[in-house]
């Protein structure tokens, strides 16, 4: 059960705070050594709770958590040797940056000279050499964040947990820090469990992403797979932009299926998550996979009316009415067609069956 390359294993873990409802429902998750795994999900989906159970600040109500193959349910937090970066950084305000970094080394009774060397190296790693004598309050948000990362790494744990570490930063700084954290992860080879509810952050940084909703992992896969092959409507909806069409399955043929929409339009879609003929399904289609005025043998062709054109420079967003859905988005590259497009105009659009996933029905 505890296989050699997983650093952390959750086995049937459940968590309830109030004894009435489950915040985490039957979590089974293996985190590979050296992996950058992101927990992504909407607010209140139980991500922090999972992290806290792993760090030892919350006890699992049921199930077991293994760290390096050993059960850790009864190991106190300070003996787990897991580095942690908190959302508000939790830098000790009464200590200087260097003292903050030396803290985990001091409690491990590491010699003074070695402490100093490690603190210096850690500060250099986050490009803050020379800031050792400052108090956290004298640093900018991004600098504090880097100190927090350095502090979680300075005692060389094999696992680091980060709970929305970039939540408090502005967009530009966030992107820069994403890159830096990813870089540190690659050069040190530590395993990282990262929590965020920003999907672009998850997509750019992670090896694998666990999408949480309602205490359940909806899908666990790499960023590209998550976007290309969503396993259910929640993931399709949550990751990236998505057009939703609701219909009924008419017939199944191999990897595809025939779906009839409410207005009678019939479409062919890849069969991913359907219950069978006659059952409802939600079709999911990425806006950039739709072609205007498709030529020749396109799997699906429908006519829609252009409701709104939004000019975005490199591409154009078109909001259309298609098969009773007037929130159907199409993204086209800006190649000059805009001159031909006008609001209120009817136009034929089409897409391949492989780009249209038949998923579970959502209302």
């Amino acid at each position: 059960m505890d296989d050699q390359d997983s650093i952390v294993s959750f086995r049937e873990v459940q968590k309830s705070y109030d004894g009435v409802s489950l915040v985490v429902k039957n979590l089974n998750l293996d985190i590979k050594r050296g992996e950058f795994l992101t927990m992504l999900g909407p607010s209140g989906s139980g991500k922090t709770t999972c992290l806290m159970m792993l760090a030892g600040f919350e006890a699992a109500t049921h199930g077991e958590i293994f760290l390096n193959g050993k059960p850790i349910n009864n190991v106190p937090p300070h003996k787990r040797g897991i580095g942690m970066v908190f959302q508000n950084y939790a830098l000790f305000p009464h200590m200087t940056v260097a003292e903050n970094l030396a803290f985990p080394l001091q409690v491990r009774k590491i010699g003074r000279a070695e402490q100093e060397a490690k603190v210096k190296r850690a500060l250099e790693m986050v490009e803050l050499a020379g800031f050792g004598a400052r108090r956290p309050a004298q640093l900018s948000g991004g600098q504090q964040q880097r100190v927090a990362v350095a502090r979680a790494l300075v005692f060389e744990p094999d696992l680091v947990l980060m709970d929305e570490p970039l939540g408090a930063l502005d967009k530009q700084l966030r992107e820069q820090m994403q890159y830096e954290i990813k870089h540190i992860h690659e050069s040190l080879g530590v395993s990282v469990v990262y929590v965020t509810h920003d999907q672009s952050e998850a997509l750019t940084m992670s090896d694998r992403i666990a999408v949480f909703n309602d205490g359940v992992i909806q899908q666990l896969s790499g960023p590209d797979d998550l976007y290309e092959n969503p396993q259910n409507s929640f993931v399709a909806q949550f990751i990236g932009e998505n057009n939703k069409l609701t219909g009924t399955v008419k017939e199944l043929n191999g990897a595809t299926c025939q779906v009839a929409l409410a207005d009678g339009t019939e479409l062919r879609a890849e069969k991913v998550n359907v219950d069978g003929v006659g059952k409802g399904t939600t079709l999911s289609l990425r806006p950039e996979r739709v072609e205007l005025e498709p030529n020749g043998g396109m799997d699906n062709k429908v006519t829609g009316r252009i409701e709104e054109l939004i000019y975005l420079g490199d591409h154009i967003r078109i909001r259309m009415s298609v098969a009773g859905n007037n929130d159907f988005i199409v993204k086209v590259r800006n190649r000059g067609e805009r001159r031909r497009l006008a609001e209120g105009q009817d136009i034929e659009i089409g897409w391949a069956a492989a780009d249209c996933k038949a998923l579970d029905l959502v209302q």
Binding site: A55, G56, F57, P76, P77, H78, R80, G81, I82, G83, M84, F86, N88, A90, F92, P93, H94, F103, P104, V107, R108, R151, A152, F155, L161
Partner: protein, 421 residues
């Protein structure tokens, strides 16, 4: 850096007046308005609070009564050499006669007597007996007549005291307040058995420190609970902490009398439990123990509340971070949590210490003779012995001690580190 202001043109408002002057005028008007808003309270405080305190403090050096009652004598005595061992000459006695005639008329000589009696006993009766005789004195040979009236006038010491206390201001009260006195040989400590105040000051400091420390010891965990318990429980606990504020101080102190006395509840319980034998019950009241116990209880909220308000602002993620970095519960508390509560400890300790250093009712009721504070002695001089000058001097010293402590505290901890919320 170059001086830019020198070359910058003077900015003006649109009517041509310098901007600075206009701004100052506008600000002045605003300040005046806010001053007028606080004026009623300001006047009230100055008239009923600050002025009386200033007057009281002034009494600690005020000695004008001697020169006002015996103006001529004071002038005449200036010529006399008090170290010669001889009595002053006839002119001084004549001046004393003139002064006393007026003083007796205005009945001020007894007040002077009681004033000088603080410095040497017997002065009060000396002036009273002399006052009765002075009207019947004949002209000439006053020295003889005065010595006949009271032989103390023939004692050089009487005159030495009169001369020493003739200036309008005196350090006598302050010397008294630190158990010292002026002798012809200069300032020296009073005999061992007459010393009192230094001991009282030391005891007040000592007990206040102990009280502050025990308030901290018992208050810290309570404040921690208040700050960390779920709201439902912490509200209840807060009511329990605040409850004493809603009860009269006298009631609380009297309750301690009931609890602590030798036949009281605590001793009864200890005897019943067999921890103390019936014959030697603990003496918990009318001594320092009583003062410490009762004052710790009464001042506890003043320690808990500042601590609580500081602890409330400390995010639990600090301790979590410390633990995730490998610190045990104790290390996380001692190295991460505790240092962040120091401003609260500072605020609470200053508050409790200053309150207890001037506390009066509780030591009076439960302290006996062993456990009274300097403030009880001040009260005694204000209301019983009527030696207001000494009371004022003691008060000034107490005030100075508190200010000194503030200063030391500021140097060590920093006063801007104190947080009340």
């Amino acid at each position: 850096m170059t001086d830019l202001t020198a070359e910058a043109p003077v900015l003006t408002t649109r009517d041509g007046k310098p901007l600075k002057a206009s701004l100052a005028r506008a600000l002045r008007r605003e300040k005046l308005r806010s001053l007028m808003l606080i004026a009623p309270l300001l006047v009230f405080i100055v008239v009923t609070f600050l002025a009386p305190i200033a007057d009281m403090l002034f009494r600690s050096i005020d000695n004008r009564i001697v020169a006002e009652t015996l103006p001529k004598t004071v002038v005449a005595l200036a010529q006399w050499d008090e170290t010669s061992g001889n009595l002053p000459d006839e002119t001084v006695f004549q001046a004393l006669h003139d002064d006393l005639l007026i003083a007796v008329e205005e009945k001020t000589h007894t007040r002077l007597g009681s004033r000088l009696n603080y410095e040497a006993s017997g002065m009060s009766s000396l002036f009273r007996t002399t006052g009765r005789r002075v009207k019947r004195m004949e002209d000439g040979s006053y020295a003889e007549q005065f010595i006949n009236a009271d032989k103390d006038w023939g004692d050089v010491k009487t005159w030495q005291i009169l001369k020493r206390f003739s200036p309008p201001y005196t350090a006598g009260y302050f010397l008294n307040a630190v158990d010292a006195q002026v002798t012809p040989d200069g300032i020296e400590m009073k005999p061992e058995n007459q010393r009192l105040y230094l001991l009282l000051f030391a005891r007040t400091m000592m007990l206040s420190l102990i009280i502050t420390f025990s308030c901290l010891l018992f208050g810290y965990p309570i404040a921690y609970l208040l700050a960390t318990l779920p709201l439902r429980y912490s509200n209840l606990l807060m009511i329990l902490v605040l409850l004493p504020f809603w009860t009269s101080l006298l009631v609380r102190t009297s309750a301690w009398k009931v609890l602590l006395q030798q036949q009281g509840v605590i001793n009864d319980a200890l005897v019943w439990a067999g921890l103390v034998s019936n014959t030697d019950r603990l003496v918990l009241i009318n001594n320092q123990t009583g003062t410490i116990i009762a004052m710790t209880h009464i001042l506890m909220p003043f320690m808990i509340l500042p601590l609580y308000s500081v602890m409330k602002t400390i995010s639990p993620s600090y301790v979590r971070a410390a633990k995730s970095l490998g610190a045990t519960d104790w290390t996380a508390f001692w190295r991460v949590y505790f240092p962040q509560t120091v401003p609260g400890i500072g605020a609470g300790a200053i508050l409790v210490f200053i309150l207890s250093i001037g506390y009066y009712i509780t030591p009076e009721l439960v302290g006996g003779t062993e456990g009274i504070f300097i403030s009880n002695r001040i009260a005694y001089h204000i209301s019983s012995s009527l030696n207001w000058g000494l009371a004022a001097a003691l008060g000034v010293i107490l005030l100075a001690m508190v200010l000194l402590l503030f200063y030391v505290y500021d140097r060590i901890v920093g006063i801007d580190n104190v947080k009340l919320g």
